[in-house]
Symmetry: C2
Subunit: 530 residues, 2 copies
């Protein structure tokens, strides 16, 4: 089936605006043949209105029905076959093996959410039974659970065309909650987005879901995204991307007549602290591991380790040199698009121009390549510069890292206290340095959403306990995660039922506990009937 | 001990600004003798800075230590004795019995949070154990729990000088989480606030907590509240009050360089639907119950039933007349302050001026009284007017309600679909009307945070399952509650520990489960060790 370049609105491929952008192959800079349309305000209104109508139906769907749909969507994505992998690679240039893995992650998380909602305890049922004899007043029967919040807009990320885009974690968790989704595709991979939308459309048809449960709108203009966030029937927004983009959407949402939450994951520089003993013990492995982590996916990971603290020792100097040497030995990267190439060159140039910053590898645009790229870059500075210059906390979205040499533990702690919010922080230490590591984790904890010991921050497990979030500017909502099973909590809100007869209560709250889920009954966890 | 009129900042009574306001006794309109100060920007900075310093200590406190403090604070509030009740009554005019009950609610919720955190499962521990043999990559050990977010500002409410003010639900839940609190006292009850601050100060001293864990700032200017919300070291805001006030703080918080969440509960008109059979079965009791609920606390409850839908039957007419007659028979109310008196007169006048609104009781300012008051008021309109005129959803903060007569079920459902967000919705029905009630609850659910069957919305239990929240404009954060045990979730955020040795993990996440709490381990609820 040929690409249409159109939007997929409530089951129909449609477009009335201007078709003025194409895929660009980052490996050749060649434009694709199909022109993609910019969504008009009217089309966005159609998509959100259809979602609101669909929600009146899907909000009453059982977990079983929603789970079946999630699994069917995963099957349909797999059924797209190699065309999906090749299209994603053509648009994002990260390679077929990477997209094979990313597809597995995407279908895996759809199925993981199906499993979660089938088990059922995610509904967070809490029950206080009546106390008719309480003095001075009886206590009524009070029962609380989570319900879906309504239509959700999802903004696809440039760096994960599958796992954080059309059927990515935001969409999967919103669907699992029972919320319709309107995806604003990232203009860097419109064809991949169209293919995945086709798969979701097939699943909707096969499962008899209302067509408005899912729409995809294409567009390269800021206006289309803003129109989506402003729509009065929208209930929430999921976003993965830049700080500037995420903050703009959050500001728009906060200024609505009825404000709505924006769950924006906006990147991070992911500080890593490497203690002296660890360098002595495994300096070569650390240099190799750092270079691998910094260059993974051409460095275009939210969890890229962009800031590395070491103590001022000869071994640290060797580590920095070895890392720089490793980075120089890595192949030239392929970046996602021209915008990222330009932004990376600009942010690195700014950082290199700050006082006391040395460049040990790269730091230059690669001229004359027929692919989007930038040199693998290692910079270094000392802790006084770092503390004095907030500019040194700028994210360089690409294969770039900055070493900071600390003269002592006190200055390291001071540097940590100056850190902005991040997704992750990592400490490398030996057995003997465990106490120091513990103290560092205790400080770092206040700045991040995930702490890692003797590992690397890239690689975010999709699991129950994963938290992919953190204080601003890492995200706009530090209490929530965009990866892992608790991501579903973003798209639900509590409602309490007081004094309702059993026959009017949702199954999750009926006294017999017909769903067999875990509930908190009068303060005690229980699967029993009441 | 005489009142000082000053702020209580990190253990010291201090004031450098202007002392220009007093308590006003709503029963006599007489000014109190003590002048209270407006907090300066510098004083607010001192309070928040001290809170941020204290947080570096209290964030590591055990639940046991925090629980002991909460209980001590409750004891100290009780130790204030009758002076507290008399002062609150002098400032708010709601009567000694009401304040005796409200004090019990206040100390009760401090102790309930102590019990919650001692039990420990509120920490939301989720553990995924390592899968070292997983292909293609091993899974690391991943463990997640909630940590406190940092210094919290709490804005006291005018209508609950104890339970939603200095040591109210926001403060209790923030303390329980381990967060320092800076209370901005409501200028309508500064003396009550000073007394409660004294009690908390005693508890802080007795428990050896850092003095900055609690501060109270007084002030009657909007500026003082805005300065507090803008402070860079503040992490979150709790607020109970008007839509205008809550939205202003939320806008300020959203515009900060680092936005922070504002958990504002901003009132509601709390729709009640009374089906025809219920009126036939118990019309007199309903009229009496409605009049009692509408006038409780002089109608100054967030959950006041300000909107009552009935079907167009002769019995409904009788119910409306009886309710109006009951309301006329109630004593003249004492309102909290001059501002509320003025606002109530103005909002009722506006509503009475809308097309098709009839006044059946009250609707007039009471002239020449030496207390703040307004007539107990019943208005009525029909469903077409209600649907056509969003103005009829204005909250009248006082003993006022509006009946809406519906010509049929369809128009009732349409009216429900036009409702803004509310805290509660109530349905009265007979056994035979259960199916209709179920359909109504299903619609109403989307508009509110709590559904009540055959009861009245006033009276909010402090319990595990209570949800006191709802979609905007009832609150700014529909996923959260300001009453009940889950209120603590507002002031915590998750953090994940990846690959940490057991010795570096917090007790809640250690493999042996030394706290004996409920955890989710590889997707299963368990109290076992790993």
């Amino acid at each position: 089936m040929a690409l249409t370049g159109k939007h997929f609105i409530a089951g129909r491929w449609t477009a009335s605006g201007e078709a003025d952008f194409t895929s660009i192959n980052p490996r050749t800079k060649a434009a694709g043949e199909v022109k993609f349309y910019n969504a008009t305000a009217e089309e966005i209104d159609q998509a959100v209105s259809a979602a609101a109508d669909a929600f009146q139906i899907t909000r009453n769907f059982s977990a079983e029905k929603l789970a079946g749909f999630l699994e069917k969507a995963a099957d349909e994505i797999e059924a797209l076959g190699d065309e999906l992998l090749e299209t994603a690679d053509m648009e994002a240039g990260l390679g077929i093996p990477r997209f094979t893995g990313e597809r597995g992650r995407t279908t895996g998380q759809l199925r993981a959410f199906a499993k979660l909602i089938r088990e059922g305890s995610y509904i967070d049922a809490i029950i206080d039974t009546a106390l008719p004899d309480r003095k001075p007043l009886p206590r009524p029967d009070i029962r609380r659970m989570q319900i879906p919040i309504g239509p959700v807009a999802v903004f696809g990320a440039s760096n994960f065309p599958l796992a954080f885009s059309v059927a990515g974690g935001d969409t999967a968790s919103a669907f699992a909650a029972g919320c319709p989704v309107i995806v604003k595709a990232h203009p860097s991979h419109p064809a991949t987005s169209e293919l995945v939308a086709r798969a979701i459309g097939n699943a909707i048809k096969a499962c008899g879901f209302p067509a408005g449960f899912f729409s995809l709108v294409q567009g390269r203009t800021i206006e289309s995204g803003q129109n989506l966030v402003k729509h009065p029937q929208l209930a929430a927004v999921g976003f993965t991307g830049s700080l500037r983009g995420g903050r703009a959407l959050a500001d728009t949402a906060a200024q609505r007549p009825t404000p709505i939450p924006v769950f924006a994951e906006m990147g991070s520089i992911n500080p890593v602290v490497i203690l002296p003993g660890a360098i002595k013990e495994r300096g070569d492995a650390l240099a190799e591991g750092l270079a691998n982590s910094v260059t993974l996916g051409s460095g275009q990971f939210c969890t890229n380790p962009g800031l590395i603290f070491v103590m001022d020792t000869p071994e640290s100097e060797t580590l920095i040199e070895n890392t720089a040497s490793q980075m120089k030995g890595k192949p030239e990267c392929v970046l996602l698009n021209a915008g990222i190439e330009k932004a990376l060159a600009s942010t690195v140039e700014t950082t290199r121009g700050r006082d006391g910053v040395n460049t040990l590898a790269g730091g230059e645009a690669l001229e004359g390549r027929d692919f989007f790229s930038y040199s693998n870059t290692v910079m270094a500075t000392d802790v006084d510069n770092f503390i004095a210059d907030p500019q040194l906390q700028t994210e360089h979205f690409g294969p770039v890292t900055l070493f900071v040499t600390c003269k002592d533990t006190q200055s390291l702690n001071e540097a940590i206290s100056h850190l902005e919010g991040n997704l992750t922080a990592t400490v490398h230490a030996t057995e003997k340095e465990l106490e120091d590591a513990g103290q560092l984790f205790n400080h770092l904890r206040e700045k991040v959403g995930r702490l890692i010991f003797n590992g690397f921050p890239t690689g975010v497990e999709v699991s129950y306990a994963m938290h992919h979030g953190g204080p601003y500017p890492a995200t706009t909502a530090p209490g929530t995660t965009s990866v892992g099973m608790t991501a579903i909590r973003r798209f639900m809100r509590p409602v309490t039922f007081q004094g309702l007869p059993d026959s009017l209560l949702p199954d999750a709250l009926k006294s017999a506990n017909p769903l067999g889920i875990w509930r908190i009954v009068n303060g005690e966890y229980s699967k029993d009937s009441i």
